[in-house]
Amino acid sequence: MRAQLEEVLASLRTARYADVRVTTTHHQHVKVRNGEVDHLSSVVDRAIGVRVLVGNGWGFASSSDISDSSLRATALRALDVAAASNIASTQTITLSDIEPHVANWSSQFEIDPWSIPIDRKIDHLLAATDPMRGDPRIHQASGEISCYRQQKTFASTVGSFIEQTTTEMGGGIEAVAIADGEFQRRTYPNPFGGDFQAEGWEFIERLDLARKGAQIREEALALLDAPKAPAGRFDLIIGSSQLALQVHESCGHPTELDRAMGLEISLAGGSFLQPDMLGKFRYGSDLVNIVADATVPRSIGSFGFDDDGVPAQRFPLIDRGLFVDYLTGRDTAPLLGRKSNGTVRAESAARIPIIRMTNVNLEPGATPLADIIADTKHGIFVDTNKSWSIDDLRLNFQFGCEVAYEIENGKLGRLLRNPLYTGITPEFWRSCDAVADRDSWQVWGLPNCGKGDPMQTMRVAHGAPAARFRNVEMG
């Protein structure tokens, strides 16, 4: 394949820069619901994509036909599109420097997801979900397992030739209880398909879904009769799973430099974090340390090289509460006078690479979660996301969670239903006065981060412990 791609790149010599990607992506999804196989599908997607920079115009073309003739035609289309871009290009494009890399990278797994027969996956889910059924208020007991593999080849006029393979698995279970017009959903370990890691079947076994089924059923039923979470201002302890999504929405997205520069405004919006705030703006309290780390082992936010051919990196975004860096790519980093930190990715070769989160992690603190709860006189504990919304600058957010518990005099108390909390991003993170230690820290895989136009779904992840925030508005 290398010779083919290099031949195409040679044909693009009028371009200032060009790259070619080829991807093959396999998905398998198994879902059982109420004792039946509800969904079982298998998808194979192949794509080629050619990106060229001519003058100050980018051109991108892709095709699902990966033949040699299609590759050559796609390259010509990319040149045609770049020529059109120059008609309405009003800015100068500078690419940050990069070394050529010839490399082969793969994520690691012990048991190949595709080596496990479908029967076994179904049986695994039925064993987890059957004990959840039986109560007439349980309308749905379901479980899902997903397998994903993407093989990607990248070649560029810089001289890079990089082959990467990522293998991932995801899984989770869900109980839906309905009675007297009340609807409650409880999931494990996370909603929307569960948790996802760059691992094999060993990850699904480690989730131990069968052991958790009865617990989430009881919690879903208990939520039907639980009092509604109160409105007002409370000290709020947020569990690891929900805090991961809080990091995603209120730190990950606003630190994407393309958003900050207005390049994503047309769909998802911009960012309150502007370049003149770098190194000066107090984003959070001293306890808040957030890093972007594309090198975390076994995480779906990790890779060897981004789709600019830049090596995976770890760097701070928020350092002891101070905003210090953005997620950047080769064509945006020079706007700050910096080099790319390697966060440009596309969901497949069919789509243009854009800045995406990697593993954007809130670093653990030093206090055990139990001590934080014990230190809270009157508060609320929430966990597991149910709803999410944030404004177009990533300032005003509202999250709903599946569960909440009262905290009175340092002890977890009554279960509460339908908790909502809201805030303004920097005020919220500045109110953080306790970050739990590594015992509560976990990396959560989110395979469905939407961005771009046309929309691209990217696989990202977030490490987060539990943490406490003072005087947060609820309800």
């Binding site: 997607d45 095709s63 059109a84 309308h139 919304s389 005003n396």
Partner: protein, 448 residues
């Protein structure tokens, strides 16, 4: 985009490989996306894609596989994967088999040659003209301008065969001034109905309105005037949480136990309507069922969820053509949300408002808060204005709202006669067509 002959050749190979009762969909899309920001065309993309989805029915059990590779080996692999999936599935409840002996679909104007042929250069030239005009108003533009030509073909082993070509043009424009922003959008089957310069002017008008009068308000209940893009975002969520076959079957939809009952005001009618040629017409769903107008809420009365064949049989509803992906877990989705208009104008709504808020669009709506009441939240964006004593008097900051849509549908005071089409990112077939509506007591719960 593939011809009818090419498409059926691929489908016939797939059905032959299936070697059992089966249906298949082949979609081929040529599209060009021109994306701009800071009055600069920064992402320009040409995508040619094709995809085959094959569904097999073995002993009443369903299996689905998809491939973008169309050689015999990959199609054979897809067929084997689909059969393997069916082997492990449970029989579909009450399933009477794939469609057969269907009437012909309606003849609709779905394709426009000029839209299929417009070049990236012509689109870039239009955008450049808009950028240049924006300089005079001290605004910069961000947005996207998309055109596509697609072929959609489906067939099954019972003899159903369908083919259609569609074109689509869609542009969104945000005008950004130092003190405010404005928004405009159009979509159509014909690119000539999407006037980039006019959209730029409309967005600029919104972006520069009342720049010298920016007020602040405390959250609370307000009468609100919602333009079609705001309504479209809310009803995209309603589609997911309430109108699909799956939401009805799992009882999360507020329609459950309320069919035939009042769920909205008498002035509110919402249908799945793919046959209205003034909207975004398409003649059949991908199981081959001819499309027709299907009221979901008719003069405030709940009528039906939208279902595919499997869930029509399972739930006992008449089939209503909601299949857009074979084997989709939604089991039926209304892809053509048609909200009936009234007889008002936007100006009349403003004049009749003592104290209210005029909203151009919403941002990041979420409908998962409490599905049974369709409680949703979101923020306003790109043009939020205060109305006082019948006049638009000031620009407002973006506001958060948290509102039950069932309540809102019962609190509609008036609807405009004029309706506009709004595209969705997930739906190549349709979108939403909606009037501007005035709703009493909309709950604003925060501000930025």
């Amino acid at each position: 985009m593939r011809t009818e002959r090419e498409s059926f050749e691929i489908l016939d190979r797939a059905l032959h490989a299936a070697d059992t009762e089966a249906d298949a969909v082949f979609t081929s899309i040529d599209q060009n996306f021109s994306r701009f920001a800071n009055s600069n065309l920064h992402q320009n993309m040409s995508e040619i894609s094709a995809g085959l989805t094959l569904r097999v029915i073995v002993d009443g059990c369903m299996g689905v596989a998809a491939t973008s590779s169309l050689d015999d080996e990959d199609i054979a692999n897809a067929a084997a994967l689909a059969r393997e999936a069916a082997k492990h599935a449970d029989p579909l409840v009450n399933f009477t088999g794939l469609y057969r002996d269907l009437p012909d679909p309606p003849k609709l104007r779905t394709f426009d040659e000029r839209t299929a042929r417009i070049s990236p250069a012509e689109k870039a030239t239009s955008l450049r003209a808009m950028f240049d005009r924006g300089r005079d108003a001290d605004v910069q533009f961000a947005g996207s301008y998309t055109t596509s030509a697609s072929s959609v073909a489906c067939a099954n082993t019972n003899g159903v065969r369908r083919y259609a070509q569609i074109t689509f043009a869609d542009a969104t424009v945000i005008a950004l001034h130092a003190k405010g922003s404005g928004y405009a959008t159009r979509c159509a089957r014909r690119v000539d109905e999407v006037d980039i310069l006019a959209l730029g002017d409309e967005a600029t008008t919104k972006a520069t309105l009342h720049l010298d009068r920016i007020e602040d308000i405390e959250p609370g209940a307000f009468d609100v005037i919602l333009e079609p893009p705001a309504l479209a975002e809310v009803f995209e969520w309603m589609t997911m949480i309430a109108f699909t076959g799956q939401a009805y079957e799992d009882s999360s939809s507020f329609l459950v136990d309320r069919l035939g009952q009042r769920v909205a005001g008498e002035n509110f009618t919402l249908a799945d309507d793919a046959v209205d040629e003034s909207f975004l017409p398409f003649p059949f769903d991908v199981e081959g069922l001819p499309k027709r107008r299907v009221p979901i809420i008719e003069r405030g009365i709940a009528r039906t969820p939208i279902v595919d064949k499997a869930y029509a049989d399972r739930l006992g509803f008449p089939p209503n053509g909601g299949a857009w992906h074979l084997g989709s877990p939604e089991h039926g989705t209304p892809f053509h949300i048609d909200i009936a208009g009234g007889d008002a104008t936007r100006d009349e709504m403003i004049r009749s408002t003592k104290r209210g808020i005029w909203v151009t669009r919403f941002n990041y709506v979420n409908g998962l808060l409490e599905p049974k009441t369709a409680l949703m939240t979101g923020t306003t964006r790109d043009g939020t204005f205060l109305i006082r004593d019948g006049e638009v008097v000031a620009r407002l900051p973006n506001l958060r709202w948290t509102q039950s849509m069932i309540e809102a549908m019962s609190n509609i005071e008036s609807l405009t006669k004029e309706r506009r089409r709004v595209a969705t990112w997930y739906n190549m077939f349709g979108g939403t067509i909606a009037p501007t509506v005035k709703v009493r007591n909309w709950q604003f719960t925060g501000k930025t």
